[in-house]
Symmetry: C5
Subunit: 354 residues, 5 copies
């Protein structure tokens, strides 16, 4: 439930620009990883403080500063000061329950994204807020916890082949966003499997627990939708942006990631439709079971009630019941009972109930 | 129900600009609290009449006049005259069933907001209309009753740190709107808890009273939605406004509160979805219960009806029923009855009904 | 049903501009009431023919000609000729099943509105078409029948205070439209009460008649919606209009009535939502009742079926049934029967069925 | 079903501009009716071939060529050649499963409409494609079969009064479109009656056949909707058109027919809503019936099951059952049975089941 | 399920522009078919490698290169190099799970379409991605597998009549797109038949398997919708395109194919509506069956339960039951039983249950 009420009440009332970490602490300490490169050179370092990052601020080569851990607001505040960032931006970074968005502060772009993780085994989707600050020579990425999600980008930089080393911070930012979007497909594959599993079960054994699972997945999708819909605006915002930070030869790549975003949204909508459809099947499956139960009851009752009545008749103690005295009464009665039984069975068969 | 028909019929037919208080009287008397400040000075007073407020009208420092209690239309009318406000605006202030809106009267801005309160214990959402009049040097805020909702803003002004003392009336207005929006998160947390509570109950014991609660909450959400959707227009109206009253360095703050508004709306929509989903669960939970009831009936009836029939057969009084004379008839019959019973139980178990 | 197919087939095929009265005749004769005023003078007359109205056509003071009764197309046609109105406009006036609309004929504005009445006691909503023709010095209002709905406006003109006497035909037209919109609130209050009444009944005794009532009210709302949605366009059309007939100082008043229209639409939408929700409650209420019925049946059948079986066993006539001879059989059997009975009752209580 | 897949597969693969008649042949032979008129003269002829029509092509007076029967593609092709029409346009004319549309070919306008007919008695809606080609001096109208739908227009031309004789081809085209739209009201009146009929039946006897009827009507409405929605675009296209063919004094007439189109669409939407609502009533009516059935069963079973049990008890053959010997046992038992019966009936009455 | 998660996770993380074939290999080897033509000449060849295609690159005549088989990324990569195509475009071609789209790379246009096939017999819809690259003198079409879908276009080129030989690559591209769109109608006819089949079954025998079929078809439609909605944008993109590649005399043809696309979308929406409606009928059909079952049970139980009770009464063994001794008791009892039976049957008939 927590994640639907995104901004915690503990923040409410504080002055804007006050840094308050909202979320759960996911990393032990704040780590700074720096990759500095141009077409020819590459330097990777891990530094201990914001001050050490500062050296790269005005370097002409492309510098990627990756910061993991947002709970230490003092460090984040210092980063803001040193890199001259707007206080509201800093506030958004540490409030990990932001909506994805793009903001253009003339000198730098600010992007908030949601990374989705599916924890193996239990199909629970976890999310992490990723912030990107893009200046002409530096990209700062901030994650809630250390993770290997950006490793493919690191590999491409290290290998030095491909376009990444020849391009600027805009291409690096694109590569990072693309990685996040690509990750959605991975999560969606798992959700797809889960949906298929549910779909098989829903016809076989519709239980309240299954309904619960469907509802949980549906709610999961509501949350995911809210993470990915704004993505579309963000990327179309970058495409239409007049910022000098986005060079024109980057546009085809942005269009490409835009296409992927549309695909992600399409898939999410499809999942939603399928989950809604599943509820219909669930209900009709319940009705079917009920029908089956009722048929069994009706068949049994309808066959035996008249038979029992006949037996009851001849259990009466009237003194003058001629049939009771007749010698063939009993076998004749059995013939009658069996005839009624067989006729009933035939009738039910004709009605397709048997 | 009252709150859905916002404009009372008692107003219908009166000339526009006629001040008629519509709503319930929530305060005993009208109180005027004035905070007058600039970067260096701060003065707080409580005055008794509109005339005393007038002194601050043309003062260069920022003056915040907070008025609690709207039922005394004479006072409100006088305020309008002294501050030269449009009669329709005055009419909107005292009609507490207005839709939130922003109006730009060149010399001043007029904003109507809805404050939401959740009364502890009974989860009933109460609302209060808050009007803001923003002139170059004065912000007049009008509340239906005295409340401490703006206290954090007062604290920030008193402490003198932060941006509030260095900025003009636009920033003060922003701070007040931000406080109202922040308050929504608080109310939503309580609604969220209520929804979670209902969600647990709906699977366990679906009662008509529970359905009633769900419907009440749903209606509550309809009302809340109508309070918060216009907020979005109001703030985007302020953002796009060409009014000289909104200075450019305020825009990032307005964008920030705009983001929060979107989050509030998102959450409200999510709640709506969850409440709709709950109705589906409710109905399917009812079907499940019915299924269970039917199964018990069917199992009992199906097992005992044939057995009773057999007992009925040997209760018949025919003179010539050879079985009645046989010595082992009775124990053999018990074996047959038990066999049928066991077979039935097995059959139901195979059908997964037991 | 009639009112959903607005244009009668009796009109189909006739040439455009042919005046054919479509609707039911609601007034006996056509009456002309004239109020002619400026800031200082006021003259009220009732005239008998169009010709007498003509005198006021070019007078500089504001003239309001109210015509009740549209069935006499000859009179209406003459009015059109004398005041030089477009034939299609005249056709729209007498076809009382028009959609509300605004048309700008350069020299004059033409507005069609729907007035709603709730006939006391039976909650049936009646409607009446009101047409307004606004020229620089004359406002002609046409009603289907004589009514007192515009009386408050007349009162305000007579009293001579307020803005109405100091303003032109645009203000008078605004005042008339405002009166119509205000009247909606009155009708909505009654509908609101009716909805509340239904809501109480739907949980207590869901009958087909109640469902019928809900559906009727729903259909009523469909019709009302079609009357009020176009209102929004009409008033925003007046607001954006470049017609010289609408002076700028009228705009705040139009914005005010626009706000009211939005409120009316909001309320109508809320009613629609509530009526839809009621159907859900109705269905689930039915399911609940069914569940209750089934439980009673199941409890009775499940308790007595095994007991009856046991009684049946000892009603058998086998010669060799040792229990029949035992002295304590009968009381022991009663103990067994009562034990089963009590066990069953306990079991049902644990299942919360009792 | 056919009509939902509009373009037949027999066309697929042929070159664009190839004339293939798609639809069912509704007329025996192609007939050409020509009315040529100006304010003073009127000439009506029926010709046998396209060549004879050609004489009117460049005549200054207004010529209306009505062609009935589209199955003979050779004739249609010749028409295209003689009047210099675009091949794709000709293809659209003979493919009678087109969507209504407006196309502006500079020299002429091309309009496709759908005429609806309700065949008396069986409420089946039939449709016919009507194409209009409007040049400065000629209007060619093409119908699938001979029909009298345009007779009112012919009458108005013949009578020579009204505007039609004084105006050009644009007014004639307007008159024809207006006639088609007016015809919708006629069809809708019949549908309205059918809906009312269904509505009465749905509460009384909800049968699968009735459901079928509702579904059929719903599907009919889907089809009609697809015929009338594009009409709106067509007429607003004509209104906004910059074609020299549409003169300005025609615009009020087009606005009038536009209003009617909106009314038609409104009514169609209302019908859709009503039909959807009917399904809800149908389902709840079924539930109601089920409830009633269950109540009867429960009342009968609940009353007689305990009574039968008691009778069963005293049917047991134990030797030592003191009650059996008592003289008043039997009448006392009857009193007990009747007491139970009456108590049950009272209990059911209190529960409102009886 | 696979097809709903369009971009495979095996691609995630690789650099943009890396060619990875995503999809299933549908062709054995890559084949190149070349048709080179102008108004007078025509040359058809099948070549073995990209290099041989290169000769046609700068030829003035229109060249259509059809490539079947996309799994060999080396060949596709070479094609990209030789024809100077953007790497992202090449990536899209081999990733067969793209969304249909149009991209304008100034020198050439790039179009991705989805071809639908219905495999005879089992109603499963298969899809194939078709890419078109349109340069001033060459159209390259890429298919996943060899197919005869473009044969009609080939025939038209060979026959040399019609417009195709006289026009450029834009007309050829139009012809190819038109062929794909026309093919949809064929597929839709089969789906239409399938829907009709289901519709007949749903009222007769609503089984869970049928529900499954409906759901499968619904999901199929979701997928098809996602293939055809973007088509609309593509073609309207071509219509509004300012590319020099699209000449003006092609526009009427594009408008024609646009109309067909709208028809395709309309039909898809109609199918969706019908499938949704079918679910409603399914559920109500289930309810109907249940009702019928319950009626049978109720009638049987209600008739025989009182009769059995009466028989039970006279099975009691009280010593003093005067009726047992009377001579006419037994026949009188039969008369009573039959009377009750007949009365019950009458009562049920009056209630319309029989």
């Amino acid at each position: 439930m927590r994640k639907f009420i995104k901004r915690s009440s503990k923040k409410a009332g504080s002055a804007p620009g006050t840094l308050v970490f909202v979320g759960e602490k996911k990393a032990e300490k704040v780590t700074f990883t720096i990759i500095d490169y141009d077409a020819d050179n590459l330097q990777e370092t891990e530094v201990a403080s914001v001050d050490e990052c500062l050296a790269y601020r005005d370097k002409k080569s492309v510098t990627w500063i990756n910061i993991s851990g947002l709970h230490d607001v003092v460090i984040i505040e210092k980063l803001g000061e040193k890199f001259n960032l707007h206080p509201l931006l800093m506030e958004d970074i540490v409030n990990t329950e932001q909506r994805p968005k793009l903001e253009d502060y003339d000198d730098y772009l600010f992007v908030i994204l949601k990374m989705l993780y599916s924890v193996e085994g239990n199909h629970v989707i976890q999310h992490e807020q990723i912030s990107l600050i893009v200046t002409p020579s530096v990209v700062i990425s901030l994650q809630e916890k250390e993770g290997d999600v950006f490793d493919p980008v690191r590999q491409r930089i290290r290998k030095g082949k491909g376009r990444i080393r020849k391009n600027g911070t805009d291409y690096l930012a694109y590569a990072l966003i693309d990685t996040v979007v690509d990750h959605y497909f991975k999560v969606f594959e798992e959700i797809g499997e889960k949906i298929e599993e549910l779909q098989e079960q829903v016809l076989e054994k519709p239980s309240p627990e299954l309904l619960q699972s469907i509802q949980n997945l549906k709610r999961e999708m509501i949350f995911i939708r809210k993470s990915i819909w704004p993505l579309r605006e963000i990327i179309s915002g970058l495409l239409r942006s007049e910022s000098a930070l986005i060079k024109e030869d980057i546009l085809p790549y942005l269009r490409d990631v835009y296409d992927h975003t549309i695909q992600v949204i399409d898939t999410a909508e499809t999942f939603r439709d399928m989950l809604s459809g599943m509820l219909d099947i669930y209900l009709s499956s319940l009705s079917n079971k009920m029908n089956e139960v009722m048929k069994v009851l009706t068949i049994m009752a309808t066959i035996f009630i008249p038979l029992t009545f006949i037996a009851g008749i001849y259990g009466m103690n009237f003194e003058f019941m001629p049939e009771l005295k007749w010698h063939w009464s009993y076998p004749v009665l059995w013939i009658i009972l069996i005839t009624i039984f067989v006729a009933m069975v035939f009738w039910f068969r004709r009605k397709k109930w048997l």
